[in-house]
């Protein structure tokens, strides 16, 4: 059993999703290598050497991988991964982008969004927006998995003593080019890593009203999310979307405000530890998954809540 993990990072620091994938890998086997592909990312590799359970950090610090283009990274992962029994990456938009390419190049299937490891070849994953859990066994020689980070705790960040090994591959397929990135600037925690998430739905009525969530988010150190309905209505950008087709979150506390609780939204948050729902419609399905439901007009409840926490 030898496992290759593809690290998620931004050439400056390691993203926390990587730590959850290391935990998932530890449930499969003990020999775990971590691939860091990027440019000018040596500091990320150095940071990663102390992660618990990593044997080797493989560093592909090359121009071809600067912007994590799927074509180039997919090809690199296929070349690096062919001698491993498992290849794991987080189920982030980045992991979802390059990993299926690597799997296809290796002529093996991919198991997406693994939420639990049953054995070295058997895994659980949600299907139908999490309405069912499939237990899937792979017959492929190499198991390629994207890991649902909310299914696994973060590994320890200290105590490891991995060595760094340079990778010489620097192959630009020259079929795609990075043009630009517009990332939302925020002082708040990342949605997928936050301890507390407060999300607004169609009941917020417009984008301006999302400011009602901000005061509460500030007090609780929360990230702010949204339902697909709120995104579709143009209230807020899509990177705030929590749900089947958006981000999957499982914070300690999830507060759903003005969200009816469509299947596709529940798929993104129902593994949260404690769920609070605030909605004026007492029939809203969100109350069926909520630990604490408050039937109230959100425009009255939110300012009061902000005052009292």
């Amino acid at each position: 059993m030898s496992i290759l993990i593809i690290a998620e990072h931004d050439n400056t620091e390691l993203k926390s999703a990587t730590l959850n994938v290391v935990s998932a890998a530890q449930k499969i086997g003990e020999e775990i290598d971590l691939l860091i592909a990027g440019l000018d990312c040596r500091s990320v590799a150095e940071e990663a050497t102390s992660l618990e359970g990593i044997s080797k950090v493989l560093l592909a610090d090359k121009p071809a991988y600067e912007n994590f283009l799927a074509e180039n990274v997919g090809s690199l992962v296929a070349q690096m991964g062919k001698d491993y029994s498992h290849i794991l990456a987080p189920a982030t938009t980045n992991g979802k982008n390059y990993l299926p390419r690597a799997a296809a190049l290796l002529d093996v299937s991919q198991i997406s969004d693994v939420s639990s490891v049953v054995s070295e070849d058997t895994f659980e994953r949600p299907i139908y927006a999490g309405n069912c859990i499939a237990t899937v066994q792979s017959k492929d020689p190499i198991k390629v998995l994207t890991i649902r980070t909310t299914g696994f705790d973060a590994c320890g960040e200290t105590g490891g003593q991995a060595s760094i090994e340079e990778v010489s591959i620097n192959e630009d397929l020259e079929i795609s080019k990075f043009i630009k990135e517009e990332l939302a600037e925020s002082d708040r925690p990342e949605l997928t890593a936050a301890d507390v998430v407060i999300s607004g739905g169609r009941g917020m009525q417009n984008g301006e009203n999302f400011s009602l969530l901000e005061g509460i988010a500030d007090k609780l150190g929360a990230a702010i999310g949204a339902s697909r309905a709120a995104v579709d209505s143009g209230f807020v950008p899509n990177d705030m979307q929590v749900g089947q087709t958006g981000k999957i979150v499982a914070p300690n506390l999830y507060i759903a405000v003005g969200i009816s609780g469509a299947i596709q939204h529940l798929a993104g948050m129902k593994d949260s530890k404690v769920i609070v729902a605030i909605n004026k419609d007492e029939e809203a399905p969100i109350f069926q998954v909520a630990d604490y439901g408050l039937v109230a007009d959100l425009f009255e409840a939110l300012p009061e809540l902000e005052n009292k926490i």
């Binding site: 309405n131 795609s176 990075f178 087709t245």
Partner: protein, 272 residues
């Protein structure tokens, strides 16, 4: 006025020579359970209970069809071909694609539940026959939620990919794709032929009009088999069971904000 017309004509001519204007677009689509249906595992955990369940074209595939049809309406695509892999019943969804504006359809008929890798291999064989310049797929099917087929097809063809697209623009003989990524938006430029997978905000699909539904019945729909394409689609995965997700214990309704804050502090202990 005249100048701009001349410039536009010249520009179009350039684009024509770059092979863009008469672009052929292939749109693979999937028949899935309608997104409004709450699916349940069978009680013996052998699979998902799909008896008498309403089926539909996968929502992301519908967005893909719409985008291809818009390219054609803007004079940027010459032909839109819809293709599906599945049982005979998938003809229904191909007819929907034809009613939305696709010119012809291909069904690769099979009784096997083909996994994404197998689908990608079949599509590769179709691409080699049809030679499209652009292939637009949904980013994921809402049944298996795999999110793999487009990327796998791109790898097998050694094509570039613009996944999770919220905007596409034909530019300089290639295509620029704005992608929905975790932190915001990313733009990449791809050479053609290329693969695009759709995200929600790429467009809002139209409804098929009755005359177009009637017209669609007369459009060509070819049926071929996986053997015709000489592709091995044997499953690599074995689904051991399909079970319901763990249930949450039922919660309580609180009467006031004060009570809510009290519960969160003293019972759930998630805030201080």
């Amino acid at each position: 006025m005249l100048y701009s017309a001349v410039i536009e004509y010249a520009l179009n001519l350039c684009l024509y020579y770059k092979g863009i204007i008469f672009m052929k677009v292939l749109v693979p689509i999937k028949r899935v359970v309608d997104y409004n249906v709450k699916v349940r595992a069978k009680s013996d955990e052998s699979g998902v209970d799909l008896a008498n369940v309403k089926m539909a074209i996968n929502p992301f595939c519908e967005i893909a069809v719409e985008e291809a049809v818009r390219l054609q309406e803007e004079g940027k695509a010459s032909e839109v071909i819809a293709v599906s892999i599945g049982t005979e019943a998938s003809q229904e969804q191909l007819r929907t694609a034809l009613a939305l504006g696709a010119d012809k359809a291909i069904l690769v008929q099979t009784e096997v539940e083909v996994e994404p890798l197998g689908v990608a291999k079949l599509l590769k064989a179709v691409v080699e026959k049809e030679n499209p310049d652009l292939i637009i797929l949904g980013k994921q099917a809402i049944d298996d939620d795999a999110n793999q087929t487009g990327q796998m097809l791109a790898a097998l063809l050694n094509y570039p990919q613009g996944t999770f697209a919220s905007e596409i623009e034909l530019k300089d003989g290639g295509i620029e794709v704005t992608r929905e990524v975790d932190g915001g938006l990313q733009t990449v430029s791809l050479s053609l032929p290329a693969i695009v997978t759709t995200d929600l905000r790429l467009n809002e699909p139209r409804y098929a009009s009755l005359p177009n539904i009637m017209k669609a019945k007369k459009k060509p729909l070819d049926v071929i088999t996986t053997e015709d394409l000489n592709v091995d689609v044997m499953p690599r995965l074995n689904t051991l069971k399909v079970s319901p997700p763990p249930e949450r214990a039922s919660g309580v309704i609180v009467e006031t904000v004060d009570e809510l804050v009290d519960k969160l502090k003293n019972e759930a202990k998630v805030i201080t």
